[in-house]
Amino acid sequence: MKNMMRSFLTVVLISFTSLIMAQDGEADRLVGVWEPSHGKAKVKIEKINDKYYGKIVWLREPIDPETEKPKVDKNNPDEKMRSTPLRGYRILKDFEYTDKDTWTEGTIYDPENGNTYNCTIKMTDENTLDIRGYIGISTFGRSDVWKRLKIPSRKK
């Protein structure tokens, strides 16, 4: 009886762990490097503490032609943030996987105008994201399609 109970608990534990891992596996498909439709930047999405964050890792125009220095977040409404470099800047924050290929509860920041929007990410296929920014209700937001880029191999 004791052995049976132990076996049962083991099965439950393995099933539970597999379920969590499968869920994690599904959710982690968001991790990678993505290019927004405007092609001006590349965004690396990472998982940090069970949430997903995306930072700018590449800019088509990395140098501000006005200052001739690396671009900073000069349109941020918060003056203290205006000297923060754009490369490395986290523009996607706090996304959680819900279900049906969808990540919610996060925000997206647009450095072009300094606005932060609510955002929903939907994976339409393995290499395509539908990113919808909005305030309040999603009806009047705007969608952008991001494409996955091949992850680079680490330099030695």
Partner: protein, 359 residues
């Protein structure tokens, strides 16, 4: 065992603290050069010219506004047995509602659908003494426009694009309770081929079938959107519909100087006015050139306000007889006579709107 648990717990606490620092900037050192030459994971994926131009004013998804023109004179020509008449118009004003919402938004195509309603009310001095049928119908009914539109942006590659706009609707002295027959609907079309050489510049050339000059016309279109390197100055033009020089105080506050060309052909439906058969198929070829300053700023989030002030120049307020709604083409050089050749003097105008803009 206790010791092991204690160490595990401490490690968990430390790691959650470290990973909890997910603020705006990533602090970890990273070799960003590895992202320089990445290929799409999907072979065959193409890059397309984005519709957005850096520094340009945001597109309006919904606009609710009010338009007001100050006092001016109207010289209406004689029509049939009705005499010519000079009348003082104390104000022309009305409500304006427009939507333009994306229904399909992909990298390789954007399709927007729009709805427009403009109402124009004419306030006359000594309204009861008006005898000219044009003045009478303006005083009694005013003018309305309802339009549906669709705009299609189709990028061809990273730098070239096509832009199409189709507008169709009814303009006239009808009431919202009794709309006019759809055979009086008028359609406008514009097709543009353009280039976007960089994020700050977009230009295009095309052709339009338009009523902006009041009557049917086929005229070239020039699209030009440009923003200076420092993002302070810009140009926003879809000639001849509108043109602006823009100054950006910041991305959330902008001042413009330019013009709008507004026009349409308004059917006079003879709803209880002095107009009588056989002059029952008349259309006002109304066109206004508006030179103005415009100021736009973000109120909060997606909500922006826009205020315009300027000078309205009357380009056309003539009247044509359009038998059974079958319009004809006069162009700039045709010699068909107007049923009425009217003159309006030119007042100052003011326009205010509150807008829901696209992110």
């Amino acid at each position: 065992m206790k010791r092991l648990l204690s160490i595990t717990f401490s490690l968990l606490m430390v790691s959650s603290y470290v990973f909890g620092q997910t603020d705006t900037t990533s602090t970890e050192e990273e070799d960003y050069s590895i992202y320089d030459n990445l290929e799409f994971a999907d072979e065959g994926t193409k890059r397309f010219a984005s519709v957005k131009v850096s520094g340009k004013s945001p597109d309006k998804l919904i606009s609710v506004g009010y338009d007001w023109q100050g006092a001016y004179d109207s010289d209406a020509a004689a029509l049939g047995l009705s005499p010519a008449e000079n009348a003082d118009i104390t104000a022309t004003h009305g409500f304006r509602f427009e939507t333009n919402v994306p229904v399909i938004s992909k990298n390789n195509i954007i399709i927007q659908a729009g709805l427009l309603y403009w109402n124009t009310i004419y306030e006359f001095e000594n309204e009861n003494q008006l005898v000219n049928p044009l003045h009478r119908t303006l005083a009694d009914n005013g003018l309305n426009t309802i339009e549906l539109s669709s705009t299609i942006y189709k990028p061809l590659n990273e730098t070239s694009f096509l832009l199409f706009q189709l507008r169709g609707g009814m303009s006239g002295d009808y009431s919202m309770e009794e709309l006019q027959n759809t055979k009086y609907n008028r359609y406008a079309l514009a097709a543009i081929w353009g280039k976007k050489p960089n994020d700050r510049k977009q230009w295009g050339l095309g052709l339009s079938r338009t009523y902006r000059a009041g009557e049917l016309n086929y005229i070239p279109v020039v699209l030009y959107n440009w923003t200076s390197v420092d993002r302070k100055w810009g140009v926003e033009t879809v000639f001849p519909a509108r043109g602006d020089v823009r100054y950006n105080f910041n991305p959330r506050s902008m001042l413009f100087f330019g013009f709008d060309l507004e026009g349409n052909s308004y059917r006079i439906g003879n709803q209880g006015t002095a107009l009588a058969e056989p002059l029952n198929d008349l259309e006002i070829r109304r066109s206004e050139l508006r030179f103005r300053f415009r100021y736009e700023r973000q109120l909060t989030g997606f909500i922006w306000i826009s205020a315009k002030v300027g000078y309205r120049y009357n380009y056309s307020f003539n009247v044509d007889q359009v038998a059974d709604g079958e319009d004809f083409f006069r162009g700039f050089f045709g010699d068909q006579e107007y049923a009425m050749e009217n003159e309006l003097t030119n007042p100052l105008f003011f326009n205010f709107s509150i807008n829901l803009v696209s992110p």
